[in-house]
Subunit: 387 residues, 2 copies
C-alpha cells in the first residue's frame, strides 16, 4: 500500500473538533496530511509531516473534505429549460412538470440514461463532490423504477428509491392503488439495489399518511428512510420525519418552531437545497433558524431538470451564505460533514485518521473563497479513495 | 486565409435582427456559420452551409457570441475574504476596503501583478469572455496608475484609467489636491495606454462636481468616459453620465424615474453588476425598469477583490434572471451586445458577416441553459479571432 503526503497546506479543514484549533471545523493552518489509497493516516502541522512514498506540494492552497451531495435526482432524460423560462417570466411553479420528465425517461434507453447520468456525475465530481446520493422517481412503474435504481447503483452506493415522487397519469383516478404498488411490489423490486426510500411529502404530491405507509414498509424491508418535506407548504412532513427517525428531511422551506424543536432533539438532519429556491424564485428558508435550534444542517444540490439543474456544490455553498444566513464555515461544514450525517456515514465528510481519503484541494488560500468567489472554478484537484 | 464552417448548430444567437427569426436575438435554429481567423463570413441554415477548409461539428449545441465583460478591476494584489466573511456576519459595507487593496497592490512587483491578472483573465476566458475591459485604480499615485494601465494593456485594448477610485490616505486632508492630480498629471501619464477614464462617483467616493472635472479633462485628452454611478446612494451620477455622453453608467443600484427617462433618450448604456449585489448582500436593481424605459442594458462581472470577486459571466447572467427580472434572452443579449455597446464597439457582441470571430459553443442545446443551469461548466469551447 503506497502512501502520499500533502505538504504546504495553507488551511486544512478536518471537521474533527479534536484537531487543530479544536473548533467544529478542526482547522489546522500550515498543515500536512498523509493518505493511502483508502484512508487518511495522519494530519498535523506541516513542520511535523512524516515521510511518505510520494509528496504532493499543494503550494499553500486550502484543503477540505470532498463534498457530500446527499440529494440528487441524477437519472433522467430530457430537459425543461422552457418551463424554467416560463416561470422566470412569472408563472408559479406547482410541481406538475415532473410528469414531463417521466415521459422522456420512460422512452430513453438504458444506454442513453447511463450516458446522461455519467455526464452529470462527472460535472459534480469536477466541482469536488466525492460522495453522492441518487434517487429514482422518473419512471413510476415497477420495472421502470427497478431500472432506475440499477442505473443509479452504477454511479453510487447511496441509492434512493423514490417511487413516491408523484402519482403517474395512469393512476390518476387511483391514488390509493399507486401508493399500495409503491409500498408493495415496486418497493420489493428495488430493495436489492436501493439503500434508502424517499417520499415527496408535500402539497400536490403525497400526504403524511401516504408517506408514512410507504416509509414504514421500506423500513421493514431494511431500507433507511428520508423524505422531501415541506418544500411547497407546511403539511406536517418534518414531524413525520422525526417520528420515523428519518436520516434526513429535505427542503424544509416551510418550517415551524415546533418542527425546529423536534429536529433539534432528534438525529434527523435538515437538508437545505438552495438551488431549488434559486431556480424557482421562491423565498429561501433561514438556515440560521435551524442552526440556532441545534439542528444538524446539510446542503445538497437537488440536481434535477425541473427545479434545480445545479451541479456545483460551490454555488450551493455561496447561495447558502448569501441567502440563508450561514457563515462560510457553516456552509462548508453542511456541504461535507452535514451531508455525511444525512447519509448516516461516519467515514466521509471529515479528514482525520480513519476517514476515507476523499480530499479537495482548492485553488484558493482559504475555504471561505467558496462563498467569496461564487461561480469561480475553485476545485484544483479532487482525490478520491479507492473503492 | 483558411476558413472554418461550424455545422449542426442547434441554436445560433446572432444578436442581429436582420437574421433568422428577425428578433433582437436574430436566432437561427439548425444553423451553420463560416469564419476565417478574423471575422464571421456567413451565417444561415445548416442545410445551406457552404464548404470551407475545415468543418467543426458542434453536435446540436447552442452557439452564442463571446461574452463582453465591460467592467472589471482585474489588476490587483491580495484578497479580502475576511472582509467578505465579516460582511456576511452582518457588518455593512461602506467601500472603505479599497485602500487595503491599494496597499497590497503598491507593494506587489510587476511580475506578481502580471501573473495574478493573467490568472483571472484566464478564468474569464474559460467562462466564455472574449473581450474584457480592465480598470486601474489600486495604486492612486502617478507612477502607480501608469504602471497599472500598462499592465492592463497587456491583456486588453479596453483599458480604463480609474485614478478617481478613492482618495488615498496621503491625500486625506487634501481631496482637492488629489482631484487636481488625477485630472492633471496622473491622467496625462495614463493617456497613452488607456482608452477610457472612469470615476467612482458615489457616496463616500467622489461627488458629481469632482467627477465632472476629471471626466471632462479626460475627454479633452482624447479618452472616452464611463462612470461608477449610484451604487451606494443616488447622488446624481447617472444624470452626470448622460450629460457627458458617457459610454456607460455602471452599477445604477439606485435610479430615479428621471434618470431612466434621460438614459432612455441617450446612447449611454446602463451596466448592471449583479455580482456586487450578491457579494455585498445589497438589494438588486430591477433590470426590468431599465428595459421598460428603453435603456440599453449591459451585464458585467465587476471582478474585484472587495465587492464582487466574480469571474463567471454565466453566473452573472443567472443572477440577472433570478434577481433582476430579465429573461434569459435579455440577459444573454446584455452580456454580449450590451457589453459591446457599453464599449461603443460594433465589431463584437454579435455574430454576423463582418463581426469578429469571437464565438462560444455551449455544452447545452439552448442558450437559456446559462440561467437554467447556474454554476454549471457550460462553455464547451471558445473561438477567439486573431488580433
Amino acid at each position: 500500500m503506497s502512501t502520499r503526503v500533502l505538504r504546504h497546506i495553507g488551511e486544512l479543514t478536518t471537521n474533527d473538533p479534536t484537531q487543530g484549533d479544536q473548533s467544529a471545523m478542526g482547522r489546522i493552518l500550515n498543515a500536512a496530511m498523509v493518505l493511502d489509497e483508502h484512508e487518511v493516516l495522519w494530519t498535523g502541522p506541516d513542520a511535523k509531516a512524516p515521510a511518505a512514498d510520494e509528496m504532493i506540494d499543494v503550494a499553500h492552497c486550502a484543503v477540505v473534505p470532498g463534498f457530500v451531495d446527499s440529494h440528487t435526482h441524477l437519472v433522467f432524460a430530457g430537459e425543461r429549460s422552457d418551463e424554467f423560462e416560463a416561470r422566470m417570466a412569472g408563472r408559479p411553479y406547482d410541481g406538475g412538470g415532473i410528469l414531463r420528465t417521466v415521459a422522456s425517461t420512460r422512452k430513453a434507453s438504458a444506454e442513453q440514461l447511463r450516458e446522461a447520468t455519467s455526464k452529470r456525475s462527472h460535472e459534480l465530481r469536477l466541482g469536488g463532490v466525492t460522495t453522492l446520493e441518487v434517487k429514482s422517481g422518473y419512471e413510476l412503474t415497477l420495472d421502470g423504477e427497478a431500472r432506475l435504481v440499477g442505473l443509479a447503483r452504477e454511479v453510487t452506493a447511496e441509492v434512493t428509491f423514490l417511487g413516491a415522487h408523484v402519482v403517474p397519469e395512469e393512476f390518476g383516478h387511483d391514488r390509493e392503488g399507486y401508493v399500495q404498488l409503491v409500498a408493495g411490489a415496486m418497493l420489493e423490486a428495488c430493495t436489492s439495489e436501493a439503500k434508502w426510500a424517499d417520499v415527496f411529502c408535500d402539497r400536490g404530491a403525497f400526504d403524511v399518511d401516504e408517506a408514512r405507509l410507504v416509509l414504514t414498509s421500506a423500513r421493514r424491508a431494511g431500507l433507511g428512510v428520508r423524505l422531501h418535506a415541506n418544500q411547497l407548504a407546511d403539511i406536517g412532513a418534518i414531524s413525520l420525519g422525526v417520528e420515523l427517525d428519518a436520516a434526513s428531511v429535505d427542503h424544509c422551506t416551510h418550517v415551524s418552531d415546533a418542527d425546529l424543536e423536534a429536529l433539534g432533539a432528534s438525529r434527523t438532519v435538515a437538508t437545505l437545497l438552495p438551488g431549488a429556491e434559486f431556480s424557482t424564485r421562491s423565498p429561501y428558508p433561514s438556515a440560521r433558524r435551524f442552526l440556532d435550534a441545534g439542528v444538524c444542517v446539510a446542503l445538497a444540490s437537488d440536481c434535477n431538470p425541473g427545479t434545480s439543474y445545479v451541479t456545483s456544490m460551490g454555488l450551493v455553498i455561496a447561495l447558502a451564505v448569501r441567502e440563508m444566513g450561514m457563515t462560510p464555515d457553516e456552509a462548508l461544514y453542511a456541504a461535507t460533514r452535514g451531508g455525511a450525517m444525512a447519509l448516516r456515514r461516519d467515514d466521509i465528510g471529515r479528514l482525520s485518521p480513519g476517514s476515507r481519503a476523499d480530499v479537495v484541494v482548492l485553488d484558493a488560500p482559504r475555504s471561505a473563497h467558496l462563498a467569496y468567489r461564487p461561480g469561480a472554478p475553485l476545485v484544483r484537484e479532487t482525490l478520491l479513495s479507492a473503492p
